[in-house]
Symmetry: C2
Subunit: 223 residues, 2 copies
């Protein structure tokens, strides 16, 4: 029986323009009424996740910065530090097309940027040399600690709430979801997911951009 | 003809528990498609307004902290300073039941707090002595500059976008909306609005908590 549903945000609850699916909101609220715990994990910043928690009605923890920081019951918990990521961003901005994004003012455990596609290989290698890694959440690039990822956040909740992997369902669509799709949890994705995510999924919905949430919750008998 | 629709958030787009109305989201998106500009003004913090702008699809400026700070096209503009408000909060916390709220870390032009009802008169008077004022947005109290209010934000947009008051529609439900309801703009409110707001409104919808948005936009022939 699923006790915890972990959702990615961009591309999983939203469309390509980041507009949130009103159907997804309705189905999440129905799931919350059934006393299933819902959690969000995103590359976005913690006050944005606070907004989603509040306005959508998420009853579990929300994680920002790919799992680096959590908000639950009005308490913020930081798992990583941003000093190295910020120093790296300053360094690499001078050597490549990398440009920081304005939401960095609200980041506490990572740094975000845009760059030309052609710089990806170079910047990724430079990050590794600094014990950091970069990941693309479709809307922006993120640099952070090599151990900071969505699997870290899922494992944290597994311990906190004393769950087994088979009581956890994860839903995501893109590269920065892969670490949690490598755990022995239940995995589902929308039709717009990358091939890698689809191949790792137990259930691939025919619906997309948030409209898959009702279908997936039904498949796992949550609704 | 209405060219700008200015919406309050809590109680106007949301219910008492701050859950956003999926109907309100749909009707706002329909209005945006008709090339009407939508703006939000709230007592909340700017990254939360950034989240609403992004996920709902607001095409105009969003204002946080009752008009003290604006986000438009990824640019943040601050109109007031928080130094005096923060100093006042520290001072008054020692003399009353006033307790700061955790979202203050994201505030830039005001400070927010909770207190016992019985302290309202005392804290309000103390604020005035410091050229500040306090206002209740139903979920929390705010202290800020005496000139910082929603009318300030509406007037700023009127100038920026070269509008007349009769091309602006404001929708709100509570005390911190009164200043914009005192302008000679078009005014509408949900059924859950306070009596003061209802009395100042040109149109009072029979619907509430976000479900009035479609009704109001139809009344003003925006949809």
């Amino acid at each position: 029986m699923i006790k915890l549903v972990v959702l990615d945000v961009d591309g999983t609850l939203t469309d390509k323009n980041r507009l949130i699916s009103t159907n997804a909101i309705k189905y999440i609220r129905n799931g919350v009424k059934k006393n299933v715990m819902f959690s969000l994990i995103s590359g976005n910043v913690i006050p944005v996740m606070f907004a989603l928690q509040t306005f959508v009605g998420i009853n579990g923890p929300v994680f920002a910065e790919n799992g680096g920081i959590m908000l639950y019951k009005d308490q913020i918990k930081k798992f990583f530090d941003k000093t190295k990521a910020e120093e790296f961003l300053e360094y690499i901005s001078k050597k490549s097309s990398v440009k920081p994004v304005f939401t960095n003012v609200w980041r506490e455990t990572s740094a975000a940027f845009n760059m030309n596609d052609s710089d990806e290989h170079y910047v990724s290698n430079e990050a590794k040399k600094h014990d950091l890694y970069i990941v693309n959440s479709k809307f922006t690039w993120h640099v952070m600690d090599k151990n900071q990822n969505k699997a870290y956040a899922v494992n944290y909740m597994k311990e906190q709430f004393k769950l087994n992997y088979n009581e956890i369902l994860v839903v995501g669509d893109s590269d920065n979801d892969i670490t949690m799709f490598n755990l022995s949890v239940n995995k589902a994705c929308p039709a717009n997911a990358t091939d890698t995510i689809k191949n790792k999924s137990d259930y691939v919905s025919k619906h997309r951009y948030g409209n898959e949430i009702g279908d997936i919750l039904n498949y796992y008998k949550i609704l």
